[in-house]
């Protein structure tokens, strides 16, 4: 019975993850082989050509995306952590309205922001700039980070911070020496999700960069697909490389991922 369930489970996973296998398989095939009438199910005539192409043409884009993602993590946490502390631990009037506002702004479709940010950024010279993209990507990560961190910090007993303040520590010292260390896990989760979001962002990347000075990897793949879709092995090799952060995170930080995923939906 139980072994049977495991077998079914393995089958389900195999079917659902087949596209990923197919991506890896295609990434190792020579590009001509991909245009044959019937596909090769295994990369028997395996080649690293695709990866050579991917690194050659998209390597810089991967690096750009790393910079943007790290920048977004930093900006998001710097802005979100103090706000969460105030919302969770300090008696701030209007806290509920602020939380509502943050929930609401998450609903705003990105295309609307892109539309107006494009014209504003054009005037400010922020098109094609890392800072511009980091600030734009943060629109998706900051509300999420605040809500997630606040949910965690609410559960930190107030006596803890109050005791610290009685000892003469100011709000900022309490924040830095008590709250932040306690919230380490929540901060990691918020940081991880900020990284993943910025890494995967396509909408802002495609509207707010022209490809002149740098291109995030998502745009790189999009233009790669659009320009030479017969180079599927190169596209798929790039896709594999672009999936690496997600895969790594899943392996080393799974509990944070699940924590972040459920925090938005399941009550604190």
């Amino acid at each position: 019975m139980k072994a049977g369930k495991t077998l079914v489970g393995v089958l389900v996973v195999a079917v659902l993850l087949f596209p990923l296998y197919w991506m890896v398989n295609a990434s190792f095939q020579p590009s001509g082989a991909l245009l044959k009438p019937s596909p090769d199910w295994f990369p028997v005539a395996g080649t690293l050509d695709g990866y050579r192409k991917a690194l050659g043409t998209q390597g810089g884009h991967l690096l750009s995306s790393v910079l943007i993602a790290l920048g977004t993590v930093v900006v998001s946490l710097i802005i979100a952590a103090p706000a969460s502390y105030a919302l969770a631990q300090l008696k701030v009037r209007g806290a509920t309205s602020i939380v509502f506002a943050l929930l609401i702004v998450q609903m705003i479709p990105g295309i609307v922001m892109a539309n107006s940010l494009y014209t504003v950024f054009g005037n400010l010279g922020l098109i094609d700039s890392y800072l511009g993209l980091v600030l734009a990507d943060s629109t998706a990560t900051i509300p999420f980070a605040v809500l997630l961190l606040r949910a965690f910090m609410v559960s930190v007993p107030r006596e803890l911070s109050e005791a610290s303040r009685v000892d003469g520590a100011g709000h900022w010292r309490t924040f830095f020496s008590i709250i932040l260390p306690i919230s380490r896990n929540a901060l990691v989760t918020a940081g991880l999700f900020s990284f993943l979001f910025a890494w995967a962002d396509f909408l802002f990347a495609v509207t707010l960069t022209t490809g002149q000075s740098f291109q995030p990897i998502t745009v790189g793949i999009y233009r790669f697909v659009g320009n030479q879709s017969a180079d599927w092995n190169g596209v798929m090799a790039t896709a594999v490389l672009a999936s690496v952060p997600a895969a790594v995170l899943l392996v080393i930080a799974q509990r944070f991922v699940v924590a972040g995923l459920t925090s938005g939906a399941v009550k604190d």
Binding site: K36, L103, N115
Partner: protein, 304 residues
């Protein structure tokens, strides 16, 4: 947002000032990066913002002309219909499959936790990557799906036919969304006390009856939230459609989001693009408010 500052009367405790200092960055950010774009978009939708506007910096005020043009465009109906079909189709299947898998994986068996976490992968990948992979699998002549379909019958013109392209992007989006539904619903299932099931089993309830009378009602709150979140996020999906079909062929997969993009960034009719964007906001916030109502009570008590 100055209201918040204004409320801090001199009589209030120090906390008021400190609270504001802690909140200032986020408030400033919200005003600049959410408030301003929303207003700018409203203004732009009432302007004839064209290629020339970029050089001269001038865009004449045209009132509701952009909205009129958008509504009169035959693409409007297509885009609305596609948005509805895409959203409903995605959510129904994401939820259905996610729930089935959640129930399946809630049974403890060898490797269930590992397998479940492997299933997270599609959700963590950049959407552009998933889109590219599916686009390749959907390829008319060289795609793996048609290679399989040729074994059992006729291949399907996934991305080259106006009838199949929308199902193709919906399938892609379902695949992406199943893990999210699975994990959240699984969390909800775990919260249901096992004793209830044991008691029901003693009373002779079968698997279906246990699902129907215990699982389903007790899962309701989580279900509501998952569906609402799904709705809000699916309505504005952009990446998947752009990579898989680009809105084509013959606009058969154009949704309000991709259409707004095409109007602004392909045709440089930013006024009309903004108008479509604002219509999209109306729809999204409509659903958003519903979602918030379902959250309101929990939040109010948490925030107090």
């Amino acid at each position: 947002m100055t209201l918040t500052a204004g409320r801090v009367s001199p009589g209030r405790r120090r906390t008021g000032y400190a609270g504001f200092a802690f909140l200032a960055p986020v408030l400033l950010y919200v005003v600049v990066f959410f408030g301003y774009p929303l207003v700018a978009n409203l203004v732009m939708s009432a302007q004839d913002y064209t290629v020339r506007s970029f050089y001269t910096g001038q865009a004449p005020f045209v009132g509701l002309a952009n909205y009129a043009a958008v509504l009169a465009n035959p693409l409007f109906t297509t885009a609305v219909l596609n948005t509805v079909l895409f959203t409903v189709g995605s959510i129904v299947f994401q939820f259905g499959i996610g729930l089935a898998l959640a129930v399946f994986f809630s049974g403890r068996f060898l490797g269930s936790a590992t397998l479940r976490s492997l299933l997270l992968l599609p959700w963590l990948l950049p959407l552009v990557v998933s889109g590219a992979v599916w686009r390749w699998m959907f390829d008319q002549d060289h795609g793996v799906l048609n290679a399989l379909l040729r074994l059992v019958g006729a291949p399907v013109p996934w991305l080259t036919s106006t009838t199949w392209a929308l199902p193709a992007v919906i399938i892609t989006n379902i695949w992406i969304g199943v893990p999210f539904n699975l994990v959240v619903l699984h969390g909800g299932l775990r919260a249901i006390p096992a004793t209830l099931y044991e008691a029901a089993e003693l009373d002779g309830a079968g698997a279906w009856q246990r699902f129907r009378h215990i699982t389903w009602p007790l899962l309701r709150p989580v279900t509501g939230i998952v569906l609402m979140l799904g709705l809000v996020y699916t309505i504005k999906v952009f990446d998947v459609i752009m990579v898989v079909t680009g809105g084509g062929p013959a606009n058969s997969t154009q949704t309000l989001t991709t259409w707004s993009y095409a109007l602004s960034f392909r045709d440089f009719a930013f006024g009309q693009g903004a108008a479509v964007g604002n219509l999209l906001i109306l729809v999204a916030t409509g659903f958003g408010l519903l979602y918030l109502r379902s959250l309101r009570s929990t939040l109010a008590e948490a925030a107090s």
